[in-house]
């Protein structure tokens, strides 16, 4: 194996990337706080939502989508650039429709039972709900299962 000393170019590339990774950690921490404070991570609120017994969660998701729509439109309108320099470009979702329906239904079934979607699984773990490790473990098993069965499923 040849020894290749790091050049100063390599060093400048790794320094901003550490800061960059930290910025995502911070963003995640912020979102975790929001999930808890807004009660989106609350099993109680999710059950209330699926029984249409309050406006809270609908107001939450609705205002989130409206905010997202407006701000994304603004980014596109002004051809904003990311901190990394690239022009911001929104990825299109994969083609097909059956997988959105079947996958969505399956996820929804799970969501309605333990009242968690992936974000709250991590956030609840952080708040000390150790039983979420069971949910997480089986979520990983479910993910793996999809990888195994993928070629046999309609998309």
């Amino acid at each position: 194996m040849t020894y290749s000393p790091t050049t100063s170019a390599d060093q400048t590339r790794s320094f901003p990337s550490v800061l960059s990774l930290l910025s995502y950690l911070l963003a995640g921490t912020f979102f975790g706080v929001v999930l808890v404070k807004s009660e989106a991570a609350s099993w109680y609120r999710i059950q209330e939502m699926f029984r249409f017994q309050s406006f809270h969660m609908y107001g939450l998701i609705g205002s989130a989508v409206l905010t997202g729509m407006l701000t994304t439109w603004l980014l596109r309108r002004f051809q904003a650039r990311a901190l990394t320099g690239q022009t911001i470009h929104v990825q299109s979702k994969d083609p097909g429709l059956p997988h959105y329906v079947f996958g969505g239904l399956t996820f929804g079934l799970g969501w309605g039972l333990a009242g968690v979607c992936p974000g709250p699984i991590f956030t609840l773990l952080g708040s000390g709900v150790w039983a979420m490790l069971i949910v997480l473990l089986f979520a990983l098993i479910g993910t793996w299962l999809y990888g195994v069965l993928r070629d046999h499923l309609p998309h």
Binding site: F31, Y44, R51, G59, A64, G68, G103, L124, A131, G147
Partner: protein, 185 residues
């Protein structure tokens, strides 16, 4: 002062903050907000070669940003859910409280009822593991969860995400109103 830090937020405060995650991640590095992808990355990291379908063979290191985001979610939960936890029970509607009674679940302070965390009950293991399995499988099959489809996908006006979101709710309404009561009885 502690009161201010522990009270829950109204939807019109939390909602816009959730929505701001979409442009925030785009600005930070042209990243698409979507948490369930981390389950795929975790599998890509953890699975041994012998049990690793092609779906998990990619350079997960390019997605470290999302793994850091997920680590942040845990920290956020620690802060808001433990250090500054709301000592009051959730302010549910009257109808919602009645529904809880029907499920045999009490309204206690906290984000998840203790009845659903009682690992002495086999049905709790069933609910937690089944929920996890369905969430893991469904989010990959459907290509996203609430953050990826309901928030990001709808914010970026993508029709597949509308289909996905409607499907989420159909599934959730079914399991919350029919399957969960069946399991808890």
């Amino acid at each position: 002062m502690m009161n201010l830090l522990t009270i829950p937020w109204p939807w019109y405060v939390g909602g816009p903050l959730i929505g701001l995650m979409v442009p925030l991640l785009l600005l930070l590095g042209n990243k698409t907000f979507g948490i369930s992808a981390n389950l795929r990355h975790a599998c890509a990291i953890l699975l041994p070669d012998a049990a690793k379908p092609g779906f998990f063979r990619y350079d997960w290191r390019k997605e470290r940003w999302n793994l850091m985001f997920a680590a942040g979610l845990v920290l956020g939960g620690l802060l808001a859910g433990l250090v500054f936890a709301n000592p009051e029970p959730t302010r549910l509607s009257v109808k919602a409280i009645h529904s809880l009674q029907g499920l045999g679940v009490g309204l206690h302070p906290g984000l998840v009822p203790p009845e659903l965390l009682d690992l002495h009950r086999p049905v709790v293991w069933l609910i937690l593991s089944l929920s996890g399995l369905l969430v893991g499988f469904g989010t990959r099959y459907g290509g996203g969860c609430t953050s990826g489809h309901a928030i990001t996908g709808l914010s970026t006006l993508q029709f597949p995400s509308l289909v996905a979101t409607v499907s989420f709710f159909a599934g959730g309404i079914l399991s919350a109103n029919f399957f969960l009561p069946l399991l808890l009885r």
